[in-house]
């Protein structure tokens, strides 16, 4: 295996009532940011969750730094998980803990036992400052007292406080207004640049993903339909890619395809995709 490959999905299959992932192969290099796009229900979040064993694939494997997440000992899996942090769609902050304790959960349990409380507070405060939150104002608050955008940023702070080597973002800007969405996207870029962390971002925000990613992948019908650089994505002749890239003239060609898919999936994403075609 290429030593630069940090995350490797090998022929990942997952089925719930219907097949969700049907043989996904993808390698993510060290320090790389890869965005995964796709209509709702295509298995983007499921693929992300297979990375750390939150969802177990029916077939295939996921390797992190060459170590299998599914064919290793519990200790090895635990050690692998310690290097990865997951930013959840709705932040998944612990309701009963204040922001200090929530962010502290991002530290390794053994580190918490040995760290000087003053040093721990500094690290937590630093990570909050890195996501543009004022520690003094939020540390003692409960998650319910914060806005959606602030909760997402606390989720980011929790992810970076332990200085992970890999961060997985599950729809980090969903539900945010454009201003907050842009702020979160900028934070993802700055975290990646500053810490050289390897990132996978599952998102519906096409523009944001093209801006922040080294490569973009498009998941469709359980397989990766496109993997390439943002420039290749913009120039692609694939009708679905064109529809995602919002290239109006070119998307005309995709109209039939998108309408057909909207019949199966009447969610907002497909409706949006249809509207792209209609506008064109």
């Amino acid at each position: 295996m290429d030593p630069e490959v940090t995350i490797q999905y090998q022929n990942v299959h997952k089925r719930f009532d219907t097949p969700v992932l049907s043989g996904v192969d993808l390698s993510v290099m060290r320090g790389e940011t890869v965005s995964i796009l796709g209509t709702s229900g295509t298995g983007k979040s499921v693929l992300l969750k297979t990375t750390i064993g939150l969802v177990t694939p029916d077939r295939g494997d996921v390797k992190i730094d060459g170590a299998s997440v599914y064919h290793s000992t519990r200790i090895q899996v635990r050690d692998v998980r310690r290097t990865v942090r997951y930013v959840f769609q709705y932040a998944a902050l612990f309701d009963s803990l204040n922001i200090y304790d929530n962010v502290a959960m991002g530290l390794d349990p053994e580190e918490i036992r040995t760290l000087n409380p003053r040093v721990m507070l500094d690290r937590i405060a630093n990570s909050l400052e890195n996501v543009n939150l004022e520690p003094r104002k939020v540390l003692s608050k409960l998650p319910a007292e914060l806005s959606g955008g602030m909760r997402k940023r606390v989720g980011l702070a929790r992810a970076i406080v332990g200085e992970p080597r890999i961060i997985l973002y599950d729809e980090p800007v969903t539900g945010l207004d454009p201003v907050n969405a842009a702020t979160v996207n900028r934070l993802i870029i700055s975290i990646a640049e500053r810490t050289k962390v390897t990132s996978i971002v599952v998102t519906h925000d096409v523009e944001g993903s093209l801006e922040m990613s080294h490569r973009v992948a498009l998941l469709d019908n359980g397989t990766l339909r496109f993997v390439g650089t943002p420039d290749e994505f913009r120039r692609s002749e694939d009708p679905l890619v064109m529809a995602f890239a919002d290239r109006r003239a070119a998307a005309k060609a995709a109209l039939g395809l998108i309408e057909h898919e909207a019949d199966d999936d009447d969610d907002a994403e497909s409706a949006h995709a249809v509207s792209i075609g209609v506008r064109a």
Binding site: K49, I52, G53, L54, R78, R81, R82, V84, R85, Y86, F88, Q89, Y90, A92, L93, F94, D95, M105, G106, D108, P109, R158
Partner: protein, 264 residues
């Protein structure tokens, strides 16, 4: 012909699915129990969390346990007194009240209070954590939900329930005594004479052993049902209801198996 067979076949199918579901729950609860024991043996359970849960379950439930204990003592005393008003000496009422409260009403009524107050709350709380991905977040942060969420609740239940049952027994017998004096004219000496006449020390052990088993089954079922919740707010509501039904049935089944096992 098809329509004649369809009803019994669908009933049989429903029964089969019910049995499979029951077996799956039993298997999952058994695995959860093994993981709880393992996490306790490895010293991975925080004492602070156990105390917090014990406080919540114990002190929080005490007022309701006291109310049910008082009412149990009064009702048993009144009903017994009514039945003994002719040929049986009234002092036997002391034994009837003591035995009824210690052997049955104290543990079972306390268990029902804990099902409603603690069990339902645990399922709803953990269910909400599960559907809002907080349990996944815990796992992704390298924490095992069993020592963090399950074990403290179950251990606290096993500590607190026998204490609550002990209090309920004492209060139930005391209010039975007061009630017998107030309405039947049976003085404390007569009541206590009757109570001592048929008293076996084993009865108290039996009562507390029952409480210990209830103190394990109520939180373990509620934790299990909470952690397997999916399907948003509807899923939380559905699993909380199912959990309460499971807990009531389990408590009654355990209660029914105790006499043939320990009172013969």
């Amino acid at each position: 012909m098809t329509s004649i067979l369809s009803l019994p076949l669908s009933l049989l199918g429903g029964f089969g699915r019910g049995c499979m579901g029951f077996a799956r729950h039993v298997g999952q609860i058994s695995l959860l129990t093994v993981r709880i024991v393992s996490s306790v043996l490895q010293g991975g359970v925080s004492l602070k969390m156990i105390f917090a849960q014990a406080y919540e379950q114990g002190i929080g439930s005490l007022p309701l346990v006291l109310v049910t204990a008082v009412l149990s003592g009064i009702v048993t005393s009144q009903q017994g007194g009514y039945q003994f008003s002719s040929s049986i000496p009234l002092y036997v009422l002391g034994s009837v009240v003591t035995s009824s409260v210690v052997l049955e009403l104290g543990p079972v009524m306390t268990a029902f209070v804990l099902i409603g107050r603690v069990g339902a709350r645990i399922t709803a709380e953990l269910g909400t954590m599960a559907v809002s991905e907080q349990v996944d977040a815990l796992i992704s942060l390298g924490r095992d939900p069993v020592p963090y969420l399950a074990a403290p609740r179950v251990i606290a239940g096993m500590i607190v329930t026998p204490i609550l049952v002990g209090v309920a027994n004492a209060v139930g017998v005391l209010t039975g005594l007061v009630s017998a004096r107030a309405t039947m004219g049976l003085g404390p000496e007569g009541f206590l004479y009757g109570a001592r006449l048929y008293w076996h020390s084993w009865d108290l052990f039996y009562s507390l052993a029952k409480a210990f088993v209830f103190g394990f089954t109520i939180p373990v079922i509620s934790v299990h049902m909470g952690l397997i919740t999916h399907g948003g707010a509807e899923g939380v509501g559905r699993n909380t209801t199912t959990s309460v039904v499971f807990m009531i049935i389990t408590v009654l089944v355990v209660d029914a198996t105790f006499p043939p096992l320990f009172l013969n």
